[in-house]
Amino acid sequence: MKKLKMSESYAGYLMVLPAIVIICAVALWPVVRSFWYSMFDLRLNHPAKSAVYLSYKLDMEKYVDTRFYVEGTLKELKENTAGHKGVEAAAVEQQLGTLHNQLMQSEAIASRYEPVKQLLDDFKPVSDATLRYVDLSREKARLYLNTIAEVTERLQALSTAENDAADQAVELMEEFRLSIMQPNFIGFGNYRYYLEELKVHNGKPGRLGMALLNTFYFTISSVFLELVLGLAIALLINKSFRGRGLVRAAILVPWAIPTAVSALMWKFLYDGQTGVVAKFCDMIGLVENPGILLTTRMGSMLSIIFADVWKTTPYMALLLLAGLQTIPVQLYEVGQVDGATKLQRFFKITLPLLKPTILVALLFRTLDAFRVFDLVFVLTGGGPANATETISVYAYKTMFAQMNFGRGATLSIVVFICITLISIGYVKILGADVLKDQAE
């Protein structure tokens, strides 16, 4: 009997195992991966730092290709310079030749050399990574780098004018140097960099600090406004009146429009020359002139918040409406019999019973608002004067405009930490609330 019970509980674990594996794969793995990348100096547009390297590697494609050009340039240098300099050029050639022979002693490099050269001569990329990258020992990599540094110095001494053969050779040596992939693990270097950006200098926070402030400002104001307006709308469409179905459907329209599209729409509405909203604000004296909306720090931030409120209030209203419908009508009837005013009924019955729904709705919206990207990107691109740059926009610029994936991953981790803290906060309040209910 006991044995059966044991196997049953194992079977139970077995049943939930796939779910746990899937959760780990889709939820935790990206975070772990981002954290791993954030520990590296990873820059996709830097030839020697475009991937995670834990050991020294030689990029055969670059090495072979550069070697072709070096041979030509050194030949030119030898022929065009007489006397002492010609001798020096020959000596440099000799030194590079020795280095090449030392490299070719390794079976891995020698066997790859010809196939790579063949591909390059046909203008084909070396897309096979095992063919392209060869592991190098630390000693050999050091020897290589030292030799290149020495040769660079000797060539610099030979250069007499800008862009002469020796000068070109120096540039090619830089290519040689970048053919070696060095380990680019930097630990918490990226985090230290951003910690510096958090500090306040001359009364102004650094870029990350500013981006975080902008994000929090946007999140708190937009979510607060959405809650108030959403609750009002939910109360309204919870009442029965003619055409309620139509109103309920119509209210969802802003939410159904893709954010990028509605952002473009608002861009035209806010436009200082032709925008209707801008003109209206000007007419009622809200702003000095219609151009202010998108060109000042205050104006552009408020414009973005307003566009977001317009778009996501329906979502809030929908969630709250669902909560309102779970409140039994009898409670209101009892309240009415006891002589409670409408206001009292709202504060004593509706709000307390709606509290869990409100908290869940707030959690959803806060997390959403914190990651705001598309609205800002389309409406202002982070400007003017970087006044509307949120943390997601900053991460986007770092990752996809500057291709700095190490730094970008670090910013993603910062977002992750903030989101986690917000979630924990909400869950604490929610959890306490539920526990209290149960105790009662």
């Binding site: 996709l44 547009n45 830097h46 030839p47 475009s50 670059k62 050009y69 340039t73 196939p115 063949q118 591909l119 046909d122 203008f123 084909k124 990329p125 897309s127 800008e162 070109q168 540039e171 090619l172 830089e174 290519e175 436009d271 200082g272 020359q273 002139n289 219609p290 151009g291 202010i292 909306l293 998108l294 060109t295 000042t296 720090r297 202002t380 691109g381 982070g382 400007g383 003017p384 004067a385 970087n386 006044a387 610029k397 996809f400 405009a401 500057q402 291709m403 700095n404």
Partner: protein, 450 residues
């Protein structure tokens, strides 16, 4: 019941096996056909059979460039497809007009080693970055093989395409900032920025105009172009020949001060700091502005009767002078071949056509773009359509355009300039502080990139 369960289990297992098997079968031929073009590149002769089949079907090339308000590039592609009918077929992908947004899409595709684009038009500021990152194919050997005389191309553009001694991008057309003005309002073209400020203020409102001057001042790449023109006009510079940052100078401060004076004046639109090219050229062709600073494409657009209200009522001139000289920001577009393209030989045919005499002629006549292929400045058909190409001042102005910093980390440098200058224009920091911050941040970025 027990039996039923077992039978169900077996059935389930069987369906799984079959569906997996089916998947495997379906995938195989697909994979094969995808790999073939790539493997023909190798030395192995196993794939000789399919190779014989390829010439019958034209090779499909994907060519991408940013939004074109003229239709010149469509005509180039049509002409090329006609010439190479049955051999090569070029398909066009339109990208956003914002050059920064284009850049980000390309680098995302290239960094993943993708081959979805074969040929791509690049802004003059990208070749160094693309070359350093290994996205583009060096063209020297191809040029040598086909005996193309590069001396027939404009020097500034060739320099922009050259990085570490190799040419990575073929010059297509050149751009420089130019001043356009309404001939029905302005008699005497302003020669200096001071004169322009006076003229724009005095003539605002005439002939139904609303503004005196429009430019590009949003926090984006175009802001850097406009700023570089002011900086250079007053004798400043961003980088020197060795790639060292030399932006911190009184000349830079002076140039940017004039820029700020214009941006905050009452003769520009009140939302000038949201203006990119489309906003500014729309204002000009709608007849709303007396002056505009824009690229050469404004000429063809302004004379397009379908869109423009000012056909025949405007002319162009070099940008006004500062203390030192008149400076136009070097712009323009070049063409690269994706290093991972499956068809480099065919892609080179297309690049050769588009950037050669035939393609550049179409681009000049239908697009109003200034050629980088110098013999076209003597071509009668081109001159008939764009008489200003014969104007020595125009050509010399473009030839002497000042480049933006040539650097493999250009996007980072540009980002720094955009933010600091935008802050200065918005009045959040003084010009002196902006210049000091740019200097510090750019130097740090350059040091870090080594």
């Amino acid at each position: 019941m027990k039996h039923l369960g077992k039978i169900m289990a077996v059935l389930l297992a069987l369906t799984l096996v079959f569906s997996l098997g089916a998947c495997g079968q379906k995938q195989e031929p697909e994979q094969e056909s995808e790999q073939k073009p790539a493997s023909t590149s190798g030395a192995d002769s196993e794939t000789a059979e399919p190779e014989a089949k390829t010439p019958e079907e034209p090779v499909k090339l994907i060519y991408a460039r940013g939004m074109d308000s003229t239709k010149a590039n469509i005509k180039i592609i049509e002409a090329f497809n006609k010439k190479f009918e049955g051999r090569i077929n070029v398909e066009f992908r339109e990208m956003p007009s914002d050059t920064g947004a284009q850049h980000d899409q390309y680098v995302t595709a290239f960094a993943a080693g993708g081959d979805e684009f074969d040929v791509v038009d690049v802004d003059v500021i990208w070749p160094a970055e693309f070359a350093q990152a290994g996205y583009s194919l060096p063209l020297d050997k191809l040029i040598q093989k086909d005996g193309i005389n590069m001396d027939e191309y404009m020097q500034g553009q060739r320099d922009a395409g050259t990085f570490k001694g190799k040419l990575w991008a073929m010059p297509k057309f050149t751009d420089g900032g130019l001043l356009y003005y309404r001939t029905d309002i302005i008699d005497k073209v302003p020669q200096t920025w001071e004169e322009l400020i006076a003229a724009a203020g005095a003539n605002k409102g005439k002939e139904g105009t609303k503004f005196g001057y429009v430019m590009q001042a949003k926090q984006y790449e175009g802001l850097v172009c406009n700023a570089v023109e002011f900086i250079a006009a007053y004798g400043g510079a961003v980088v020197d020949g060795n790639g060292d940052i030399i932006i911190n100078s009184p000349e830079t401060v002076k140039g940017l001060t004039v820029m700020k004076e214009i941006v905050t004046s009452d003769f520009v639109p009140n939302n000038i700091t949201t203006f990119t090219e489309p906003e500014s050229h729309t204002a000009f062709i709608e007849g709303q502005s007396v002056f505009i600073r824009n690229w050469p494409y404004q000429w063809a657009l302004g004379n397009d009767e379908k869109q423009s209200k000012i056909v025949g009522k405007f002319a162009m001139a070099p940008l006004p002078k500062g203390d030192k000289k008149a400076a136009a920001c070097l712009g323009g577009w070049m063409t690269i071949i994706n290093k991972n393209s499956k068809y480099p030989a065919e892609a080179w045919e297309f690049v050769k056509f588009m950037c050669g005499q035939e393609g550049q002629k179409i681009s000049a006549i239908d697009g109003g773009n200034a050629p980088t292929y110098l013999p076209l400045y003597k071509d009668e058909e081109v001159l008939a359509k764009s008489p200003h190409f014969a104007d020595q001042g125009f050509v010399e102005g473009l030839k002497a355009a000042v480049p933006r910093p040539v650097s493999p980390i250009y996007p980072k440098l540009s980002d720094i300039m955009q933010i600091e200058i935008s802050k200065a224009l918005a009045g959040e920091q003084s010009i002196e502080d902006a210049v000091k911050h740019m200097d510090e941040k750019m130097k740090a970025a350059v040091a870090e990139a080594k």
